[in-house]
Structures are given as structure tokens and as C-alpha cells.
Amino acid sequence: MSGKVKSKAAAVGDTSGGEHLANASVNLISLRQHARLELTRLLDSVRGRKALVLDRSLSGQLGLVAEVSLLKAFGVAQIHYLLEQPLATDCEAVVYLVRPETRLMHLIADQVQGHIRAGDTGKKYGVFFVSRRTMLCERVLSDRGVYGELLLGEYQLDLIPMEEDLLSLELPGVFRECFLDGDPTALFSVARSLVKLQTLFGLIPHVSGVGENAKRVYALMDRMRRESPGDQYNVVPEIDSLILIDRSVDLVTPMLTQLTYEGLLDEVVGINNSYIDVEEQVLTGKPPTNSSSSSSEPAKRKHLLNGKDSLYKEVRDLPFRSLGAILHRKAGEIQETYNKKDDAQTVSQLKEYMKQFKTAHTDHKELQTHINLAEHVNHRTLKDMRFVYQLDVEHCLVAGNKAVTMSVDECVSYVDGLIGKMEPMTKALRLLTLLSMTAGLDRKQFDAFRRKVVQAYGFERAMQTLANLEAVGMLRASRSSWDKVRHSLRLWTEDAQESKSQDDICFTHQGYAPLSVRLIEVSSAAKEGWRALDDVLRLLNAEHFTHQQELPVSIQERAKIMGQSSSASTSSSAGTSSVTDQHQQHQQQQQGRKKLTLVYFLGGVTFAEISALRFLSERESSDRRYIVATTKIINGASLLDDLIEFLPNELDRSSLKEL
């Protein structure tokens, strides 16, 4: 028994899988630990051998905080997905982990009643809601008459640390829910996650934001604080400011192809919950052995991509075009290490060499993987004329009349061709909406394009989809104010490769600086904050706000004392340390003194935008560091996929005769 307890404790405390968070500006490991502890607590609350039944949409999320061995240590014998079918299990306890959706409640009720009907009445059931237990769901369970059979609880799995500077709620479909359906449930979750974050890391003194939903989130946060007063915020704030940014303020950026390594990987192979899912040979670079599986699909493999991989951490934010040179240099370095073998004469030299060899060897493996991945991506992008041409179209659209490579008319006929060739709907709509949001469409073009979309993709796929795109403003018949926005925010830099543009976030899209990040950059640098952007935001039809959250007096005092003591220690140590030490210390101090800003994207953020913010954090002239929180990591395709809506088709072909 005690042995088991020990192993449990060890399992919870196991930080493996969390190393990539070790250098985080705030202690993100504690967030992950918190999530793990909560999970084990809820598993312990249901006694016996357990079958864990998962809402499929949660599995990726859960995987980021807990591994199978942890679940096993806490009595989980089987893992099932919650499906529309009876649950066959010999376990004495069943634990459901679900989002609070009424549809799922019915599935649970079906399964529980199934067991009872089959005479299997001894089971214990736990239903845990992620991240919130709702009365609506309870009502369904009670209407279905199973409420009394179930132990109900909450699993507050909200912001999951993905990287040392990146948190995500991993809530899919938020943009659609908030902007199209007018269902602000996700905003409530965002506000709750912020309240929780503030109880852990202190009240954030400065809060600002742009967009309607940002305003709502602040109002909710404020209300939640008022609803539960008392001193929960008794920590000296680690985060200086919070910027809430509404995705609807910048829908142009996601529609553009991301051109950082990580961004392009996401565009080409897709990164999901930090994993890519690719064919084995893409990673190994070896041609497939077509002896066994020539007929079936080549086997795919999941590969984890995060900051744990030191090489990846180094190169993921770089423009893909420059990746080749860097990987080449790395290969050279490793080769050099290998070559040192001959220099090693004595035993100690050999020992030293072996050490170097070992690191070089791991590096080599990582490097090989990335060379293969990059090659795979390269083949599908820069080496493909069509991809290159499409990039030109995108850039022509964002650059407007500044672009020299082609005219807007050429762009229009390109989009026309995509639809005419019935290219995948997402791809065509991505450029069509970009066209509408940048160059703009007149009434005639607007109607013509809509008609073409219906004729190409069919009534049942196009009608609701077009209505959705119009409703969120991504497709409309009007002139666009894009030119003015681009101009006043310097969103386009011609010749992005030239040195003068190296100090700008436009590296992420080869000349285009992501609007969302530019807004943050300008507002953070300007004395008057967001007000400096009044004109542009009016063009974008977005309101901004700035609020100060008053810290409790005791915390203010503590913060003051801490501030003094840290400066005092610098002056005393300065006398004893050498010049170089001083320099290093100074640098560290600078780094330490950088104020921390949390940027929360409501409705999703792209990898390229994250890279742009990382660039701003590291820029020497900047006095802030950024951490990013989001409802989900998105790209243009996933954003559009949420808006594309097919009419469910129930046609029975045998009814044709009746006509």
C-alpha cells in the first residue's frame, strides 16, 4: 500500500514532459503541476479500478499535462473515448472527463442506463467537467434520471503551458462561437483562466485591450473579482501588464501563409497540441520500405515539437528561407566535433572528446530530423512554382499598390482560377477573403465571386458558408481601408531580406508585419499607449480600453520593499565583482528588469504572431518581455474550417422517382 502511495506521489511530482517550461518567466511548471494534482485528486475520489472515458476533443489537451503512466498509477485500467455506443468494461468504476455539452450528457446517460438495464448495477460513476460544471448539463442528467447515480465534479483544466512563453486554453471553435454565433461562453472561460492566473501570479496592474470581446473579458474579470472579494491576490505581481486582443481586429494576418519555420510547418503538415503527425520517412528521410505496406497508407508517426528540442527552439522562429543556411552551419559544427577524434591523444583528451561526441551525437539526431522536415516542407513550398506564385499574390494583396510584381487584377484572376479549378474550398476562400479584406470587392465582383463559389462547391456547401463569412465581415462588398492601415502602421517592407528590415517583425511573412503584433508593439512603445492608435483603430472599427487594477495596500508595500532590496543588492555586489562579471550581471539585470506583458489572443493566435512577439521580447531596445496566451493556436485554414458549414444532407435517392 505504502509502496503504491509512494509511486503515486512520484508520478504526480514527475516533471518529465515539463522540462521545456523550466526557464519560463513566471513559474509555469506550477500551473502544470496544479493541473496534474487536480487530475489525480479527482481520480482518487472515485474508488476502485477505473475506466476513463474521454471526450475525444480533450485527449490532446489532457496529453499535455498527464501521461498514461500517471493515469495508471491512479487506478485507470482502461481508456475509452465517449462515443455513441454502449460502454463495455469490467471496471468497477467509470470516470467521465467531458466538456460541459448537453450532447455528451445524453451519451453518458445512455451508457449508464445501458449498464443498469443489463443488470450491471454495482458500478460507481464519476462525471468531471472540463473546466466547468454547468447547471444546464446537470439538468440534462437529472431529466434523464441518472443524476443520482453519478458523482459530479469539475476539472479546472484551463490554461495549459505549451512553452515557457505560451499558454493555451486549447478550446476549438472559439472564434466562430464568439463572433458568429454570439455565444460568449468562451469569454467566460478566458476570464476565469485570468482570475486563476492572477491568484497564482498576482493581480496584473495594467490591463488594456482592443475589440469588443476584449472589453467583455475585462468586464467579466472585474465582476468575478467583485463576486468573490477577500484577499486572494496576496502575491506580489509577477506580470506587469495584460493586453487582451480580439481576433476580429486582425483577420488579415491569419489568412496569409506563415513563413517562419514553425508557421510553415503548421501550414504544410499541421501542428496539433505540439505534435505533428507525419509519415515515418518524412522524419527519417529514408524512402519507404514498400515490402510490407505497399498497398495501405504509409504509417504515420507522432512527433513532439516543442522547446525541449533545443535545436527546434533555436530555429523555429526564423524565416524558413534562412533555415537552410543555419542547418548547414550546424551540420558543419557537428562534423568538426567528429573530426576532433584524431586530435585526442591522451586518455583525458579522449574522455573529453567522448563527452563532446555524445552531445554532438544527440544534436546530430535532432539536426537530421529537422533537415528532413525542412526538406519535406521545402519540397511542398518554395520548390513549388504554384506555391511561390500564390505567395506573390498574397504579398501583392497586402502590399497594395506598393507591390511591383503583379497587379491586383492578376490577383483577382488568380482567385478566379482557384475556384474554377475547384481547388479545396478552404484554400480558395482563404485568398478570396484576403482579397475582400485588403484590396476590397465592389458589388459586381462580390456577387460574381459568390456565384462562382456556389457553382463550384455546390449550394449545400456554399450557402451557409458564404452567409457566415459575410456575418463575420471577412467577405463583403465594400471598399477597404487596408491601404491606410498598412500605410500608417508600416505593415509592408519591400525587400524584406535586406539588412534594414532585419530589425522588424516583418520577417515572419517575408515583408509583411503582422497587424496584431504591430498594434501591440506601437501601443507598448507609445507614451499615450493605445490612444496613439486611435486613428488606425477607427479604421479597423475596433475600440480600445486601458484600466489599472488597484493592488491591495499590503501588496503595494511588499512590492516596494522587494524593489528596493533588489536594487540594494546590486550596488553592494558591484564593488567586488570583476568587470566582465559586472557586464554579465548588468545584462541579466536588464533581462530581469524587462517588464512582463501577457498578451491574450481571444479567438486564436498563429505561430508567426508568436514568433513576432518573441522577436519583440528579445530585441535589445525593448523594455518588455511577452508571454502569449490564447484560446487556441490557429492558422488561416483552421479558422476558415470553423466557418465553413455544410447543410446536413439526408436525401434518400429512392425518392427521386416520385418527382
Binding site: 468573490s228 450557402m463 439526408e650 425518392s655 427521386l656
Partner: protein, 854 residues
């Protein structure tokens, strides 16, 4: 605080003698019996003999109902036999309440851990009362038809449940948790005669986790019954007419018809002791005092016998009726004239007061006493405590003994001894002294006869301070409860909320809401975390809806506001509060409730009309739950939202199984689109109807090929694939497909099917200028890896640079070289030379460069 008589009795002067006077040795341990209260009910002439009595543990209240089974001489108080009354007193005899008790057939009463009185009647009905004799709402239970028809003959209570036995079939039923009062039928006991006695082991003390009942059979054995089975435990020393389980549930005391008391382990594997009383008459009560002694009481002879382990015993004589209450650390004796406490002498007190005790604590106490009396031996005594550790131990013992003492003079002497010791003890760091004083102040206050909760220190530790505060407020001692909170540094919210609720429910009807509101808010304002919704609930329960609504405005937590407002039928207010909160769960809850509460949906729509968030969430809800389509439709009609209604009609159209229905609904959609002046959508819908009709015809003619549900371009593609160019052209003109689109789809399809001649013909038909340019042709060929074909179209490109670029890209080196030569572009040749990496091409370029003059 305590009646003077009591204090007088305890305060005999000199040394430890006064304390030890009441001590009785039982084997190696001491027991003490102290009188704590003189009963206040004496004035009322309460005689326990006439009543069914239930005493709550933890020094709790005493409930009395006239025992109708006792034949009484007709006296002056016979009125109570006609109109029975439920009396509730504090254990000090102070009256708490007297209420009518209009129930017949009382089988038994017992107190719950919450100090609710549970009354079991012989027809299987169970009523629950609070300490003021008011029936607790929602706690009425019926044990079921079997109990009703057979009749309940016996009941045994424990703190969270009870077991009943029916009269003739001896069937057992149990309720194990008052919070979830589920009646559970236990296994059948095959008894021909009623058991001679019954005892219960509560579920929390059994290994199986289910309740276990022990039945003494008339044949002399004992049977064990639980929810699964009956088992005869094969005991042969019965028949037993009394059986009582010890406080921990580990032991059971059994008294047989020969007057012998046995103690067994509850699994009857061990017979731990045997005590012969020779009394053939069974005792009225048998109770445990702790885990090691049993107290027996014969009412007929007024004898109280306490039997310790190893057969030692003490006998007390009484000339008045009494009742015994088992407590966690002793036995409370409630008699007509006084209330006494019988317990084992605490180990710390023994240590200090035992005759000739040489323990450090005893020395410390003596030293302090001597010091008080200005006696020089104080110093000597102190010196004899040698080590620092012993000093600490001595102080701790004195404090512990003080905490466990009822008499406050003795308490004070012990505390003085402790503080005297602290002067000599350098290593004393603990705040135990302050803590002990604090606890004692609380204990002395609640034990005061006016409050009358006889709580020992041991019980206090078990009960915990929060529960004690709850008990105080339940007795309406709000001020004392508040003081206790302040004193023990606890949050006072619960007390204040309970006070406010009581204030409202006890207010006379003519007290205006405004006055109550003012009084309540004056007290509650400025306090964090006050549950105004709880107070509002109380107001609502007292039919003060206005007051409830006003109180709810003070409630900061919407999750607590909204459900109550809904319950109070304050629909719009509930909805507004929910919307304010931004909590979508609450909004949904309010919306659904309101929607269901109106027969006419239009009333519901008019409520949400001016609330946009409620409207959009209502729509979302309907869309996500497809069974609400009808409701959504009436919503769109009501608000004349034609475009939305049209899209809904489209959705329904495609959801139809029959094509005819689909067309009908598309016509509806068309009409709605037209109404909303959405010409584009109306046009597209009309065309779709047309397309479906045409496709239907074709599909029926072709058989087996699904045509219906293809898009226009898919249909063209299908025709081009089969080289039905005429049909393709027809569709193109029927549906006004733009030329560019028509061309794109043809180029793509022909290339995919490798119809190169047709592709060439198509290109030729466009003469020199293609409306989509030549790039789509080139790309289509490249896609199929037909570089020869691609080259044809590359050469049609008007721009030289484009041509060269494409040729190089598809590695048509020969043509590239030719083109460069034609354009006299030596730089291009250079590029080709390096890019091609093809010796033949390079040789060719070398040849050309050699032949042309530099």
C-alpha cells in the same frame, strides 16, 4: 455562571482533596461523578418517569413526550395525555420549546448529529423537528407499506440513521443517512418470536460499510443481520434482554436473563468479561462509559452500577428517576433534580491530584499552591523538577487538566500553576497557555446554565468549533456565537446570515419589509462573503417577495441570485442578472426556464426582444439542439428575420429525405430570400431548384450514377470527362457559367484525363488570346508530368522572361537553349548551363558558344 451549590460542593478546601473526593477507583483507574447543573425544570415539576425521553449527545438538548403506555393516576396534569406536547430542554433543564405533538403511536425518538429530533411512529411515518420543535421542511419520511401494515415495533438510533423492526414479521429496515433518506430493507431474520433485544453497529464502524444489526433470540443466541444475509452467531449464554454497542463499535455489552453481564467483541469472536449481578430483573438502561466500563441502571431500586474491566464495580444510589446518555468520554446522567457527569478521571488530573503523586506536574501544582500561600516549600518543589523537559511536561499537564475541568475555581488554580511554571521554564515557547484560556472561556460560556450545552474538552475537540457555533445559532444564541467567532478568530458570516434569516422568519407580519431590510443591511454591510441569497431565500419562504428581491440585489454572486429569482418567478430580473454576470450557463438556465414557463412562445419572445445577448444565445441553443427547429422558426417569424428563416429553410430542405420535400422547402427559402430583398440568394436558390430538377431527370435516365447533388462545375467536369462537350456547353449556358470558370474546369479535367488532343483543340479555339492566359494550361500539364505538352503552351506565353523561367523550371533544357539562342541571350545560356547539370545540354551550350563570335 454555575449555580452556587455546585461550586460549593466542588470547592472543598485544601490540597487535592477537594478534587479527589468524588473519585472512585475501578481496578487501576479512577472514575469521577460530578454534579454540573441543578435542573431548571424543577419548578415545572417535570418527572422523567412520565415521559419518553431522548437526550442528544455532546451535552445536547433533552426531548420529552408523555409516555402514553404508562398508566398514571389521574392527576392535575392529565391534560397532557389528551393534548400531547413535545418539550425540549437544554440539558441544564432550561426550557427551549414546547410544541403540540399531535402524533399517535410513538415508537421512539432520537437526535441526529445536526441536533434534529427524529420521531418514529408505529405506522412507519418519520417526522423530524428542529430544536424549537418545528418540523424540518423536506425531511418527512415514510418507511413504506410493509412498515405501515405490519407496524413498527422497535427503533434503534445512531447519530446519522436508525434501524426499525416491524411488529409481527420482525423485518428490519434502515435509513443510514438523513441527508439521503433512502429506506433500505435488510435481510430477513428467520425468527419465530420477537427478539429479546436489538443492537446496531453503525455503518461507519463496520468492516463492510453497511449497517449491522444484532438480534438476541428468545432461544438464547444472537443473530447478525445486514443488507445481504442473516447469520446465527451461535452464542449460548442468552437469552439477552439488553445489548449495547460501545462508542467505537468494537465491543458489545449483553445482559442475560440470569443477571449476568457479558462483554464481547462485536464479531463475537472474543468474550472479554463476565460480571454476575444475580439480578433477574433486567436493568432499565445499559450504557457504555468510554470503551472500558459499562453502567447499568435499575429504575425500580434506584441503583446505578458501574462495572469496570476485571470485575471491579461502583454502586451509586438514587432516589429519583434518571436517564443515561453515552458521550464520547463518559456518561451524562440526567435526573429529575440534577444533571451529573460520570467519566474516567483524565490522565493529567490523575497525575496531579493522585494521592502522593511525585510527578513533575504534581510538584509544579504543589509549588504554585505553596507560593500562593507564601510558603517557602514552593521553591523546594520547583527545584525538584530537574530537567527542562520535565518543566515543559508539567506545564502542559496543568494546562490539559485545566481544560478538562468543569469547576472554574479548579481551572483557575491549574492555570495559575501553569503560569507559575512558565516563569521557571526558559524553553517554554508554546502559545498553548493562551489557547487553553481561550477554549476554556468558550466552554465555560456555553456550559452556563442559560445556554446549557454541557460540553467537555474532549467533546469540544471532536465536535470542532464550527459545529459548536452552528449549535449556538441554532439555539438563537446569535450574540454569543458572534463573540465566540471573534474570540476564536473565525469568520462571522454564517452567524450573521443565520441571524438575518431568523430575524426575518420570526418577524411579525406587520413589521414592514423596509424596516427589516434596514436592520439587516446595517448589520451585514461591510462584511465579505455574506450569502445574501440565503437571507433572501428566508425572506421568500416568509412570503416577503419584495424583501427577497431587494436582498438579492446585495448578492454579488450571480450564480446564487439567478436560481432564486427564477424560483420567485421574477423572470426578467433573473434574465437580466444572468446577462449581467456574463455567465452563459446562467443565461441558458434562465432562458430555458422562462421559455418553458410560457404557453405562448410570443410572450417569451417579447421578453427577450430587447436583450440581444439572450436572443443570440437562444438561437445558438436552438441550432445546437436540432429538436428546437420549430421554436427557432417561430422566433424568426416573430421578429420577421427573413434571411435567417430562409437559411433555416435551406437547412431543413437538405435535411429532408424526399427530394420533393427538399424542393418545396427550397421554394419557401426562395420566397423568404425575396422578401428580405436578398436578390443574390433568391437567384441562387431558384437556380438550385432548377439544377436539382434537371439532375433528377438525368439521374433517373442514367440509373446507378449519382448526379443529384453535384455542383454546376462538377456536372460540367463529369461531362467533360466523358467528352460530352455539347452537354457541358449546354450546362454552361443554362446556368450562365462565366467563360473563365468554364475554361478552367475544362483545362483541368482534360489534363487529368490525359486528353491532350482535346486540350490542344480547346487552346486552338481560343486563338492567340486565352481569357485565362496560358499558365493554367501549363500548370495542368506539369501536374500530370507531361513536359512535352507543357512546353507547347509555354511557347505561347507572350513574355520572353516568363517563357524562359517556365522552361528552366520544367527542365525543358533543349527548348530553353533554343529560345536563348533565338533571343541572343548568353546570360540565359549561362544560367541553363549551371542549372541543368546535364552533360548533354552543357555540351550543346559549349558548342553554341564556340560557334558564335564573342
Amino acid at each position: 455562571m454555575m449555580s452556587d451549590g455546585v461550586v460549593e460542593k466542588l470547592a472543598v478546601a485544601g490540597g487535592g482533596g477537594d478534587v479527589t473526593a468524588s473519585w472512585n477507583a475501578l481496578y487501576d483507574r479512577f472514575y469521577t461523578r460530578k454534579t454540573v447543573y441543578e435542573m431548571q425544570w424543577l419548578d415545572e415539576g417535570i418527572d422523567l418517569d412520565k415521559y419518553v425521553v431522548a437526550c442528544a449527545p455532546y451535552g445536547g438538548p433533552v426531548a420529552l413526550v408523555r409516555d402514553t403506555k404508562k398508566v398514571l393516576l389521574v392527576g392535575h396534569d392529565d391534560d397532557e395525555l389528551v393534548h400531547p406536547i413535545l418539550h425540549i430542554f437544554a440539558t441544564s433543564g432550561k426550557r427551549i420549546s414546547a410544541t403540540d405533538f399531535p402524533f399517535k403511536g410513538l415508537v421512539g425518538m432520537g437526535w441526529t448529529i445536526e441536533e434534529h429530533l427524529v420521531v418514529v411512529l408505529d405506522d412507519g411515518k418519520v417526522h423530524t423537528f428542529d430544536i424549537f420543535g418545528q418540523e424540518v421542511r423536506g425531511r418527512y419520511i415514510e418507511l413504506g407499506s410493509e412498515c405501515q401494515s405490519d407496524g413498527v415495533a422497535q427503533v434503534v438510533f445512531w447519530d446519522t440513521g436508525f434501524v426499525v423492526r416491524t411488529a409481527s414479521s420482525n423485518q428490519l429496515f434502515t435509513i443510514t443517512d438523513y441527508e439521503q433518506p433512502i429506506v433500505e430493507k435488510l435481510a430477513h431474520a428467520p425468527l419465530s418470536k420477537p427478539p429479546t433485544s436489538m443492537a446496531v453497529v453503525p455503518p461507519y464502524s463496520t468492516e463492510s460499510g453497511s449497517v449491522e444489526v444484532l438480534l438476541a433470540t428468545s432461544g438464547g443466541s444472537i443473530g447478525l443481520v445486514d443488507n445481504k444475509s442473516w447469520e446465527d452467531l451461535q452464542v449460548d449464554s442468552g437469552p439477552f434482554n439488553k445489548m449495547v454497542v460501545s462508542p467505537t463499535g468494537a465491543l458489545i455489552a449483553c445482559f442475560n436473563d440470569e443477571g449476568t453481564l457479558y462483554v464481547f467483541s462485536t464479531d463475537f469472536s472474543k468474550n472479554l468479561s463476565k460480571f454476575v449481578t444475580k439480578s433477574r430483573r433486567p436493568p432499565r438502561d445499559v450504557v457504555w462509559c468510554g470503551e472500558d466500563s459499562v453502567v447499568l441502571y435499575w429504575d425500580t431500586i434506584g441503583a446505578l452500577l458501574m462495572v469496570g474491566p476485571y470485575g471491579d464495580f461502583v454502586k451509586y444510589q438514587y432516589d429519583q428517576p434518571l436517564r443515561l446518555v453515552t458521550e464520547v468520554d463518559g456518561v451524562r446522567i440526567v435526573a429529575n433534580r440534577q444533571c451529573e457527569y460520570l467519566q474516567r478521571v483524565p490522565e493529567s488530573a490523575q497525575d496531579i491530584f493522585k494521592y502522593q503523586s511525585k510527578s513533575p506536574a504534581a510538584r509544579l501544582y504543589d509549588a504554585a499552591e505553596a507560593f500562593e500561600a507564601r510558603d517557602a516549600t514552593a521553591d523546594d518543589n520547583m527545584r525538584m523538577i530537574e530537567t527542562e523537559d520535565d518543566k515543559v511536561l508539567a506545564i502542559e499537564k496543568c494546562l490539559d487538566a485545566a481544560a478538562r475541568e468543569f469547576d472554574y475555581k479548579t481551572q483557575r488554580r491549574l492555570l495559575k500553576a501553569a503560569s507559575y511554571g512558565m516563569l521557571f521554564c526558559k524553553s517554554w515557547k508554546s502559545d498553548m497557555f493562551v489557547e487553553t484560556c481561550r477554549v476554556l472561556r468558550v466552554l465555560n460560556a456555553v456550559r452556563a446554565a442559560d445556554v446549557g450545552i454541557l460540553l467537555t474538552y474532549e467533546q469540544y475537540l471532536k465536535l470542532e468549533i464550527e459545529a459548536l457555533v452552528d449549535r449556538l445559532v441554532a439555539r438563537h444564541h446569535h450574540l454569543l456565537a458572534l463573540r465566540v467567532c471573534e474570540y476564536m478568530k473565525m469568520e462571522p458570516q454564517r452567524v450573521l446570515v443565520h441571524w438575518a434569516c431568523t430575524k426575518i422568519s420570526h418577524a411579525r407580519q406587520d413589521v414592514p419589509d423596509q424596516q427589516l431590510l434596514a436592520e439587516i443591511t446595517a448589520k451585514l454591510n461591510g462584511q465579505h462573503q455574506i450569502s445574501y441569497s440565503e437571507v433572501a431565500s428566508a425572506a421568500y419562504a416568509s412570503n416577503r417577495v419584495e424583501l427577497a428581491t431587494k436582498l438579492l440585489d446585495f448578492e454579488p454572486r450571480a450564480a446564487d441570485q439567478v436560481p432564486l429569482l427564477i424560483q420567485m418567478k421574477q423572470d426578467e430580473r433573473a434574465l437580466d442578472k444572468a446577462i449581467d454576470s456574463g455567465d452563459t450557463d446562467l443565461i441558458y438556465l434562465a432562458l430555458l426556464y422562462i421559455q418553458r414557463s410560457y404557453d405562448d412562445d410570443r410572450q417569451f419572445f417579447s421578453i427577450i426582444e430587447s436583450r440581444p445577448l439572450a436572443r443570440s444565445m437562444f438561437v445558438t441553443y436552438c441550432k445546437r439542439h436540432s429538436h428546437n427547429t420549430g421554436l427557432l422558426k417561430s422566433y424568426y417569424y416573430y421578429f420577421k428575420m427573413h434571411t435567417e428563416a430562409a437559411h433555416l429553410a435551406c437547412r431543413e430542405a437538405y435535411g429532408s429525405r424526399r427530394l420533393a420535400d427538399r424542393l418545396k422547402l427550397l421554394n419557401v427559402a426562395d420566397a423568404f430570400f425575396t422578401d428580405s430583398r436578398n436578390q443574390f440568394a433568391a437567384q441562387v436558390t431558384k437556380e438550385q431548384i432548377d439544377l436539382l430538377r434537371k439532375q433528377c431527370k438525368v439521374e433517373l435516365a442514367l440509373r446507378d450514377t449519382p448526379i443529384v447533388d453535384m455542383s454546376v462545375l462538377e456536372l460540367i467536369e463529369d461531362n467533360v470527362r466523358h467528352l460530352q462537350m455539347k452537354a457541358a456547353n449546354k450546362i454552361c449556358s443554362d446556368f450562365k457559367v462565366p467563360e473563365t470558370q468554364f475554361l478552367h474546369i475544362q483545362v483541368k479535367t482534360l489534363a487529368e484525363c490525359h486528353k491532350w488532343d482535346e486540350l490542344a483543340r480547346l487552346a486552338a479555339s481560343k486563338k492567340k488570346k486565352s481569357p485565362i492566359g496560358w499558365v493554367p494550361f501549363i500548370e495542368a500539364c506539369v501536374q500530370e508530368k507531361q513536359m512535352q505538352e507543357a512546353t507547347k503552351y509555354i511557347l505561347k506565353l507572350p513574355d520572353y522572361a516568363d517563357k524562359m523561367n517556365w522552361l528552366c523550371n520544367i527542365a525543358s533544357w533543349k527548348e530553353a537553349v533554343e529560345l536563348a539562342v533565338k533571343e541572343k541571350d548568353n546570360d540565359a545560356l549561362d544560367v541553363i548551363y549551371h542549372r541543368s547539370k546535364n552533360p548533354a545540354v552543357q555540351a550543346m551550350i559549349d558548342r553554341i558558344l564556340r560557334s558564335t563570335p564573342q
